[in-house]
């Protein structure tokens, strides 16, 4: 792989080549937001938090696939510049100006969707993505599209109304008119691997698994990113330099989705928003969890592999994968190996993954008919929040109605995602009724000694954990 030190993307309707060799210019870990705001005429996108929680920096990314451009809203503060390679970047400046407004902009004016106006460009860009993807969206779809944008002034009613009245034109606008030209520009960009080597940073964005594993071997301590919605905060908040990055975002094999008898295999590079649609019918508990995972802007970036690999004690997806008894497929220089999710995490942010391995995919087996699976997330705010306590639960009942198998995987209760072993043991062989549950909940205190932190006190967490078991029972009878 040769050093190209350069990326190419389409800014609205113009090809932009960025060369990282210039030591005074951008670095490979410059965020898209900082890049935009450093350019004249691009102050519309705002920094409200630099961590993907407020959406004031929302921009829209156009991606070419089968000759069509799809539009997704993302948080520009979480995206490193090389991730833009081969994409179209649209900002609020490209929609219209105060004399000629885009339909989503004029709707925001009409409904009084802005007061102080600081969050407004971000909302407008989320609305643009909604406009391009939905016609006459339901309130549920509108809320989902705008969950990642915080407004402190309006109380949101007016903004939801702007969404409802504007998204009724089949997504037609100036971008539609130019779409074939834009597609040609995007197609002209060489989408193969990127290798950036400045004196301060190396940044790899390989296109194949083989290349990825070679890099991993050559740079055993390289920081692997797969969406980077978590890692980006080390740059924006902790001001770290991150000298070596391996970005899996362009590895084709990791995007693969396959179905086999009784199972679905989802590549580690699949973004969670896409995964949400993949699991909707067959894995409802996983769908429920994904529906309250971050925001749409986050889910368009964050990947399955990233969420599992970070092995956070408050990760949302691992408990549900444990409940479904999913399998993690690792790949390394010695080939593949398969580890049950229930055994994959070994400690605080520790897994069985070896240094030369990456997560390739996850195998989700369909639950048996007599197995019930549910997921729960308790967070201070229902949406776009991190779990205080979460649960991925499954129970299998024998023909006599007694529990033959149970998995109670909790997040937020220990230094890793952990099953309530004693509680589970107490339930085996018992009838699935309220008495059994009430007796079992008393063992939660023995299974976990949670911490007190910004989200809740230990006592609150314990009550939550007990309650979730009761909720699981009440939802499965």
């Amino acid at each position: 792989m040769s050093t190209n030190n350069q990326i190419t993307f389409v800014l609205n309707d113009e090809l932009v080549n960025l060369n990282f060799s210039d030591q005074f210019g951008e670095t490979p870990i410059t965020t898209v937001l900082n890049y935009l705001r450093s350019r004249p005429g691009y102050a519309g996108s705002k920094e409200g938090c630099a961590e993907g929680d407020c959406g004031a920096c929302t921009v829209v990314i156009g991606s070419l696939s089968d000759g069509q451009i799809s539009y997704t809203a993302i948080d520009a503060c979480l995206v490193f510049l090389p991730m833009l390679h081969g994409k179209q970047l649209l900002t609020v400046e490209h929609l219209g100006n105060s004399s000629h407004l885009h339909p989503v902009q004029s709707a925001m004016v009409e409904t009084d969707g802005s007061q102080c106006g600081y969050c407004t460009p971000g909302f407008v860009m989320s609305l643009l993505a909604l406009y391009k993807n939905y016609n006459n969206p339901s309130r549920e779809v509108i809320n989902d599209a705008l969950t990642g944008n915080l407004c402190r002034c309006t109380g949101y009613r007016s903004i939801a109304e702007a969404a409802a009245i504007s998204c009724a034109n089949d997504g037609q606008d100036q971008f539609t008119a130019r779409e074939s030209d834009t597609a040609k520009l995007l197609a002209s960009i060489d989408s193969s691997s990127i290798y950036i080597d400045t004196k301060k940073h190396v940044y790899f964005r390989p296109e194949s698994l083989a290349e990825t594993l070679d890099i991993k071997k050559e740079y055993p301590n390289i920081l692997v990113i797969n969406g980077a919605t978590d890692i980006a905060l080390r740059v924006t908040k902790l001001k770290e330099h991150l000298p070596e990055i391996l970005d899996l975002g362009n590895v084709a094999e990791l995007k693969e989705v396959k179905e086999s008898e009784g199972a679905i295999h989802i590549g580690a590079g699949v973004v969670l928003e896409h995964m949400k649609t993949l699991v909707q019918d067959q894995f409802p508990a996983l769908y429920d969890m994904l529906a309250v995972f971050g925001s749409k802007q986050i889910r368009e970036l964050a990947t399955l592999g990233g969420n599992i690999g970070s092995a956070s004690p408050i990760g949302d997806i691992p408990p549900v994968l444990m409940a479904y008894n999913a399998l993690i497929v690792l790949v390394g220089s010695d080939g593949e190996r398969v580890i049950p999710m229930r055994e994959f995490i070994t400690g605080y942010r520790k897994t069985q993954q070896a240094n030369d391995e990456i997560i390739k995919s996850v195998t989700l087996p369909l639950a048996e008919d007599n197995c019930k699976v549910q997921s729960y997330k308790i967070s201070k705010r229902k949406d776009l929040d991190i779990s205080t306590v979460s649960g991925g639960f499954s129970v299998t009942l024998g023909q006599d109605g007694q529990v033959t198998d149970v998995c109670l995987a909790y997040g937020g209760m220990a230094d890793q995602i952990k099953r309530a072993a004693k509680t589970e043991a107490a339930l085996i062989g018992k009838p699935w009724n309220r008495d059994s549950i009430e007796a079992a909940t008393n063992l939660i205190d023995e299974d976990f000694k949670p911490i007190s932190d910004a989200r809740a006190e230990a006592e609150g967490r314990t009550v939550m954990a007990r309650n979730l078991l009761m909720k699981f029972w009440s939802d499965t009878i």
Binding site: D53, V109, D112, C116, G117, L150, Y156, S158, A454, V463
Partner: protein, 771 residues
Amino acid sequence: MATEHESAKYHVTGEAIYVDDMQVSEQLLYGKVVYSPHAHARILSYDINKALTIDGVHAILTYKDIPGENQMGPVFHDEVVLAEDEVIFIGQAIFLIAAENKDIAEEAAKTIIIKYEVLPHVVTMEDAMKSGRLVQPQRKIENGNVDAARQEAANILNGELKTGAQEQWYLETQVALAHPGEGQELKVYSSTQHPSETQALIAEVLDIHKMEVEVEIRRMGGAFGGKETQANHTAIWASLLAVKTGKPVKICLGRDDDQIMTGKRHRFLMRYEAGFTDDGLITYMDVEQNADAGSSTDLSMAILERAMMHAENAYYVPNIRIIGNAWFTNLPSNTAFRGFGGPQGMVVIEEIIDRIARKLGKDARELRKLNFYGIDERNEAPYGQIVENTLLHTLYDQLLETSEYEKRREEINAFNAENEFIKRGMALSPVKFGISFTTSLLNQAGALAHIYKDGSVLINHGGTEMGQGLHTKIKDLAADELGLDPEQVKVNATSTAKVPNTSATAASAGADLNGMAVKNALDKLKRRIANSICDDFNKESTVQSKPEEIEFKGGKVFDSSNTDRSMDFAESIMKAYLNQVSLSATGYYKTPDIHFDREIGKGQPYYYYAYSMAVTEVEVDTLTGHYTNIRTDILHDVGNSLNTRVDIGQIEGGYIQGVGWCTTEECKWDKNGNLLNYSPDTYKIPNIQDIPKDFRINLLEGHPNGAKTIRRSKAVGEPPLMGALSCWLAIKDAVSAAGNHQIEPDFSLPATNEVILLSLDKIHRKLKSSE
């Protein structure tokens, strides 16, 4: 009127310029504040030499580099600009760095070495109250005879209630850009609600005259009180660096730094006792309000004063004693936040009524009505003001009907009887909010209006735009006064060079004060123009037009008793110019008839009251503690609205902001005084999923303000926030339903899902032990 926000088109296109968006010369330096990691410590030594050698670092300042006073306390001078030998909270500024870019500034900050001796500190309310250290002397307001009433009371209840701190969470963090000019001149673009004070403090810190300092703000990206005094800090720091380096310097706090360094809505711990009759009529109330002032006074005493003056909210309490304490803690100084103590003051009596209702087995809304201020009697506020023109009864009657309260109460009871794990609750709560700064002299405003030769009009006034629509209202008002379309009028960026010695845009009084000042300026101009065109009309004519009969309407200026004598506005302006008439005028206004004596706690502090009433219904999942706001109805009194679209936006937004305070917004500190919720990762303001599924806002019609305000309108900024108490009470009502309303829920504010679940856990334990 109902025009769109004057900046709406700029907001939605990203064309609106905020301080951080301004194009500045390449000389711009970035300022960085190095702050204390300790809640209380002595600075033993420090070394900035290595940091100074970093390429691109232009200056590092300590308190020794301050030319003037090392003080930035807005009312009381008890707050240093940069720490000297002691730090008293985490986030307190010690050094200022100016560097060519943010990365260099960060690198320099990491290189500075400071050695501390950690000292004992106070973080919790309980410790603060034990310490006995008040930031200013205790305050008291008393009416009637509480002790005698206690002796006679048929029933007495007492309790303690804690309310949490709330971060303003303006989307635009604190930011200032200071631009040095010739000599001592300095132009400062500051995201401030109070440009005159920002200017004054910069001048004092730099030891220069105020005339040298111009502070300008076009718009803020939200403020909510958080930029009333604490915007001064960033502006002062940027100014110090700009003067030292001779280059423009910008400081824009990152979100985490902003949350760590700046003050919040005051935490309160309140102890109360109340007596009531068997019917639920309150006979006395004895309240002790304890506020967490933080490490300096800031606006704490004014906030405490407003909390005390709203302790009775909408209810007549014949015998009342309110004690107010503002305690020192080793935290950033707490400061203004929409409501300004009002919410904390009101919540206690709302809690008392809620508890009385549970004790008596009544619906709390009946007791609220029973205890409302009377119209001709039972209408003296604890501080002696007569509560006139009460709209409480009007609002109550209308809202009870439009919200279908009775019918829904029955449905809720039926729902709760059938559902074990999901419970519904509902509450009605009123707001009576006093309008005026309680420091009476602050109720003054100025304006400067120019009319140019083409007939276009530029209005300057002392108020600042933070999203609340003040400039929209002023623009509409000015256009209407002159008979023009709003497009012919522009409201300028607020500048201390245009209108001096202004008060903060606060206390909901922005439009009341500045609207009147602008009208005063325009009245002068209209009189001059009328005189001028009458001179023209009357020239060589026997028919005499009188200036007082000249009207400004529909883009014309005409003699109302001789409408043939008419001309376009622009023509009248050109004629005035040719007649050598001044087309620029200042305006001024001060609120009449208000006064308050702090020593005795009596007076007439408010020009009038604004009223609101809300009914909120919620559904609580008693296993997760998550709640859903099913429906909210608000009936709100804005007198004659200056702009219904702006006002409805204020009401909706204020309510939701209040809901945040009541539910998900929680500030916690560890034992060392570190704020744990210092970013939106852990600090959760409401998002779109949290708003009522059914949200109905109505303006009360047909009730112009009884006080002679601008167009008989009423202030709207703060009052709606407190409607959110209905949400807090509704959640409590749903929790109470789990104990069949027989057990008083253990509750505090915010009612996070943790508070809800622990409260339910206690109820369940009590139910079990009584089985």
